[in-house]
């Protein structure tokens, strides 16, 4: 403020002496020496920028060749992808193909990624989209380790594993136990388990029951997918689930440090309303708003793990070992604590002592105490049981306090200095507050209707501070118009100082970026090329059909024609493929290069064949040459000056010749 006032004083003085003197907030940035044709001042004038605008620009502008200190991994919403964003430049660095085909990356076009995509199919029904929600970076001791990323698909209850060596999806799992999810992906502090909990209750395992049997037959569940760090893959056989009441479980977070061993999971329809307005019921939104409280689920996953290991107490549903609800209640694996008005976020503090729950229709965030919850459980001090026999802990004795945040608090992230940052949906602000004192510090308007937010490493045991991104559901007037379907608005906020400052608006026109996590860039160990040559990125080993230079060949076998081919700037070998109409063609293609950024594409017209071959990568593709003719094949990446010449022909000779 003092700076602005002194500036004001100088401007006033300058104006008094000579109206013509260039005087604007910009002169503070360039100094008096720049007055003669000061570029910054005149640029500010031209573009009508304030000093704060220029400061924001200087904090985000990243010159050519300079790398961002953070990566943000945002869900790509309906696209079924993950968007990788550099922070603070807010440049999109990559779109990781996960649940849906991605042509540029050849994802879903070669045999391995096609099989990967279909591994998440629903009973043989191919799924063409996903509702990706919550990316979760792998952790060691509660800190991001930069090795893996997980993301859920709410619509189809799928979970994916992404390897962060090369930003490639390597696994998709679907249990069949539940029909939708929301409480995922979240990881336990050493990534022993990846959590996936139901959103909308349904009979477990895909069975049928009329919705009028909701209370009796519909159930939620929390799946603990066992993650095998060595293999970089979820181990289905060692995974298990816990049956839950039909309460529309929502977000989850794993306990850490003080609360390690627990998962906290909230819910929003403990009324068990299911709509059916034709039958005279209130719509679900109203029915689910009848009661004042819902239930925070406190789940002792370490105890559950022991119970599963001991054997004998689980049922197998849809090939998943499930701890029945009555067992979970009887064995002390599951407790409920009331939580206020349609809760949404549940976020464990860096030290694991506090669990912050926010209600969409509340004005407070409620801070539960790990210590108090543990003491109540130890003393078996319950307020009663729910209809399913699950013990309910007394609300007021489980909380440390509440903080008045504003209208409609949702999600909380943390800073390194004991600050908490909560998105406030109804007010469209980010609220900064002091976790220890439960005191609001300040609010920053964001645009508009903020959902999740991500602070740098803001949900780990050691938050980094610096930057925060508000993930806003609506953009309204923030960008040039593009018709009725608007982009989402990711707003970068500087949280390095006492006051939060808005730095940058980034439109995201790719699905709904629902949640994101932000990690220090130097934690990632990223490969430049696939070594050794012939690596299959999904299997993460040299493919049995990898082709070395000089070993290219075409062989006719019982199952069709096999082509072992290489790609190198700027030719395919072999470059003419002669097959017969009706042949099944097995194409084995290796990019034998080890030059950084020397990617080749491989396309055959009219056959839906489109591969991306990064340096050292191998891909197989199988197709039927069912139409006689001449089909050009060519490289789809501008790989060299002679890229256009990197072409050949697939010659399909008519049958009967």
């Amino acid at each position: 403020m003092r700076r602005i006032l002194s500036l004001t004083a100088r401007c006033v003085l300058a104006a008094a002496v000579s109206i013509a003197t260039a005087c604007s907030p910009g002169s503070e940035l360039t100094g008096p020496g720049a007055a003669g044709g000061s570029d910054v001042a005149s640029l500010m004038k031209q573009r009508n920028l304030s000093e704060a605008d220029v400061a924001a620009a200087l904090k985000t502008y990243t010159p050519t060749g300079v790398h961002d200190p953070y990566y943000t991994f945002a869900s790509g919403g309906h696209s079924g992808q993950v968007i990788v964003i550099g922070v603070p430049s807010m440049r999109i660095l990559k779109v990781i193909a996960v649940f849906t085909p991605e042509p540029w990356q050849g994802y879903g076009f070669d045999d391995a990624t096609d099989a990967l995509l279909h591994s998440g199919d629903s009973d043989g029904k191919a799924l063409r989209w996903a509702d990706t929600h919550h990316p979760a970076l792998s952790e060691m001791n509660g800190d991001y380790d930069g090795k893996y990323l997980f993301i859920n698909d709410k619509a189809n209850a799928r979970m994916a594993v992404i390897n962060l060596e090369d930003f490639v999806t390597t696994q998709i799992v679907r249990s069949g136990l539940i029909q939708s999810d929301h409480g995922g992906a979240f990881v336990t502090p050493n990534t022993d388990y990846v959590i996936e909990a139901t959103q909308y209750a349904a009979p477990l395992g895909g069975a049928y029951a009329d919705v009028s049997e909701y209370n009796e037959k519909y159930r939620g569940a929390i799946i603990l997918w066992k993650f095998d760090r060595e293999k970089g893959a979820i181990d289905r056989a060692r995974s298990f689930a816990i049956e839950l009441p039909p309460y529309a479980q929502d977000l989850a977070d794993a306990g850490k440090l003080a609360s390690d061993g627990y998962v906290f999971l909230n819910s929003f329809d403990t009324e068990r309303a299911y709509g059916d307005t034709a039958a005279g019921n209130p719509p679900l939104e109203s029915g689910a708003s009848q009661n004042d409280m819902d239930f925070l689920h406190v789940i002792d996953w370490k105890k559950a793990e022991q119970l599963v290991a001991a054997g004998g107490k689980t049922r197998t549903i849809a090939d998943m070992r499930v701890i029945p609800l009555e067992t979970a209640a009887a064995e002390g694996l599951l407790y409920l604590v009331p939580e206020p008005k349609s809760p949404h976020g549940v976020d464990v503090s860096p030290d694991g002592q506090d669990i912050v729950v926010s209600g969409k229709l509340d004005t407070h965030a409620t801070v539960y105490s790990t210590e108090k919850i543990k003491a109540l459980i130890a003393a078996k001090k319950f307020a009663g049981n729910d209809d399913y026999g699950v013990p309910i802990l007394p609300y007021e004795e489980a909380i440390r306090g509440q903080v008045e945040i504003g209208l409609g608090p949702l999600h909380t992230q943390f800073g390194p200095d004991g600050s908490a940052y909560t998105s406030v949906f109804l007010e469209s602000v980010v609220a900064k507050w002091n976790l220890k004192e439960l005191k609001l510090i300040s609010k920053l308007p964001v645009h508009y209707n903020i959902g999740h937010l991500t602070a740098a490493e803001g949900d780990t045991v050691s938050p980094d501070g610096g930057y925060l991104i508000a993930i806003n559901k609506w953009a309204i007037d923030r960008f040039a118009k593009v018709g009725p379907l608007l982009p989402q608005n990711l707003q970068l906020v500087d949280i390095s100082g006492q006051e939060m400052k808005l730095l940058y608006d980034m439109p995201i026109p790719i699905g709904e970026p629902h949640y994101a996590q932000t990690i220090k860039a130097d934690k990632l160990k990223i490969i430049d090329v696939y070594t050794p040559v012939g690596t299959d990125p999904v299997a993460r080993r040299v493919d049995p059909n990898a082709v070395a230079a000089g070993k290219e060949r075409i062989e006719r076998k019982d199952d069709g024609v096999h082509v072992w081919m290489t790609a190198v700037r700027s030719h395919f070998t072999p470059d003419i493929l002669r097959v017969k109409e009706g042949d099944t063609v097995h194409l084995h293609l290796t990019n034998t290069e080890q030059a950084y950024d020397a990617t080749h594409g491989f396309a055959v017209g009219s056959h839906d064949i489109n591969l991306s071959l990064e340096p050292g990568e191998h891909a197989n593709v199988t197709f039927k040459a069912d139409r006689a003719g001449v089909f050009p094949m060519y490289c789809t990446e501008f790989c060299s000056a002679l890229h256009l010449e990197m072409a050949g022909y697939l010659l399909v000779e008519p049958r009967g010749k």
């Binding site: 403020m1 602005i4 006032l5 004001t8 401007c11 006033v12 104006a15 109206i19 260039a22 005087c23 604007s24 004038k45 009508n48 304030s50 000093e51 704060a52 403990t270 209130p282 939104e285 109203s286 708003s289 009848q290 009661n291 004042d292 409280m293 819902d294 239930f295 009331p338 206020p340 229709l361 509340d362 004005t363 407070h364 409620t366 307020a383 009663g384 309910i392 609300y395 007021e396 306090g401 509440q402 008045e404 945040i405 504003g406 209208l407 109804l426 007010e427 469209s428 609220a431 609001l440 609010k443 308007p445 645009h447 508009y448 609506w474 309204i476 007037d477 923030r478």
Partner: protein, 427 residues
């Protein structure tokens, strides 16, 4: 925060009026059956015919009670129906069941069960003139029509943090009902959710969180209520056709403090209300949302606010006419920048209007046209707001006008500002 002298005077007047709002006792119904204290009441209630009445003698009557259809339970204030310590204390289970006059003392304490003093569970229920104390929730009405909640006095637990109190009155899926003449103190919220077509009039609601919170509650009327020292006076969210008239809303303080908040709501009428000394007077968030809707904001007094009117997400299709803005630190603010030119501003009275009225017709000869320069600077550096009205910032604003380098943009234009307030403020 500077408060205009006029606004201070108004607060004093409100405080005086406040103390006069005491509920009158209900008259004893003719032909009712006397029930001495200590008699098992539920058996009598179960046996009572529709249209009959039971009159509670002074003293303690034990709950919980279920009142069947058409039965009236009456008592004087010294008749107390006392909670057993668990659950809700009195349930109106049959159509037209009614309670009048007595005191309900307590309820269970379980939020997850919404333990209440009174639950109205059937159409046409009436709860009138009760005194409700020591209860978690006051009066809950769920999935009912044509109920009447009138002249009750409901006190929450002032010793508890706001968020740990229950709601005084809560309507869920309620239609065609009246909530009138109640006096609510130290509770959490009064709530109307999925409750269209209800009337809230002549209530006094003080020291709570949401004075009244409307969600998906269309066509409700909110008239002649007084709201004092709540976090939010009236919040209208996702609702159309709500009318707020002649309410007095003051001292909605704190970070989230606002007199009236309107969130994604349209066809809202806000007329002749007095909003005084709230952090924000009127907050319009993306309202009206639907392009076909307009909001009508007429004849209100907005005095003594940090920010009198705040827009988020544009101002279009709001008609802001004949309001009086006095002693506000900022008259109009836009969160996220921009201007409020898209709203219709007409005939408002602004105390920082610097024009003149040479023809003496009561309307300023120059438009009221504040520039955003100071507003923008104060948005970037809120502390600067302290200097509003001082020569330093006036000079900046003058410079903004004189030297185009500053490029101030026009915030709003009222082409016909009134010279004097001419509202009830002058009464």
């Amino acid at each position: 925060m500077r408060v205009g002298a006029a606004a201070s005077g108004l607060v004093a007047a409100l405080a005086l009026a406040w103390s006069g709002a005491a509920a009158a006792a209900s008259a004893r119904p003719p032909g009712c059956r006397d029930v001495p204290a200590g008699v098992p009441l539920q058996a009598l209630l179960d046996a009572a015919a529709p249209g009959s009445a039971l009159c509670l003698a002074a003293g303690e009557h034990r709950g919980p009670l279920v009142v069947p259809a058409g039965v009236l339970l009456w008592g004087s204030r010294s008749a107390r129906v006392v909670s057993s310590g668990t659950g809700s204390t009195i349930r109106l289970s049959g159509a037209g069941a009614a309670l009048e006059g007595f005191t309900v003392d307590g309820s269970g304490a379980r939020f997850e069960h919404a333990d209440a003093a009174v639950r109205i569970e059937a159409d046409g229920g009436r709860v009138e003139g009760l005194r409700i104390e020591h209860a978690l929730f006051g009066i809950l009405a769920e999935r009912v029509k044509r109920v009447r909640i009138a002249r009750n006095e409901i006190s929450g637990n002032a010793a508890k943090a706001l968020g740990l109190r229950g709601d005084a009155i809560r309507l869920w899926e309620v239609r065609g009902s009246d909530v009138v003449g109640n006096r609510v103190e130290d509770a959490r919220d009064v709530v109307a959710w999925y409750a269209p077509g209800n009337r809230f009039a002549d209530n006094v609601i003080a020291r709570g969180r949401y004075g009244i919170h409307f969600m998906y509650s269309h066509d409700c009327h909110v008239e002649d209520n007084r709201f004092d020292a709540n976090v939010v006076g009236v919040f209208v969210m996702y609702s159309r056709g709500v009318v707020l008239e002649r309410n007095e809303i003051q001292r909605s303080a704190g970070a989230a403090g606002m007199g009236i908040g309107v969130k994604e709501a349209g066809a809202i009428t806000i007329r002749d209300n007095r909003l005084v000394n709230n952090t924000v007077g009127l907050y319009l968030d993306t309202s009206p949302l639907d392009r076909r809707d307009h909001n009508w904001i007429d004849g209100n007094l907005l005095a003594g606010h940090d920010r009198a009117i705040v827009f988020l997400g544009g101002a279009a299709r709001n008609h802001i006419r004949a309001n009086t803005l006095r002693g506000n630190t900022l008259q109009v603010a836009l969160e996220g920048g921009g201007d409020a030119l898209a709203a219709e501003w007409r005939g408002n009275s602004f105390d920082d209007y610097r024009g003149y009225d040479l023809d003496g017709d009561g309307v300023g000869d120059l438009p009221y046209e504040p520039r955003s320069l100071a507003a923008e600077w104060t948005q970037h550096a809120p502390a600067l707001a302290l200097f509003r009205g001082t020569p330093a910032l006036a000079l900046v604003e003058w410079l903004g006008a004189a030297v185009p380098l500053f490029r101030p943009t026009t915030l709003l234009i009222d082409p016909s500002p009134r010279m004097r307030s001419e509202t009830r403020l002058a009464d």
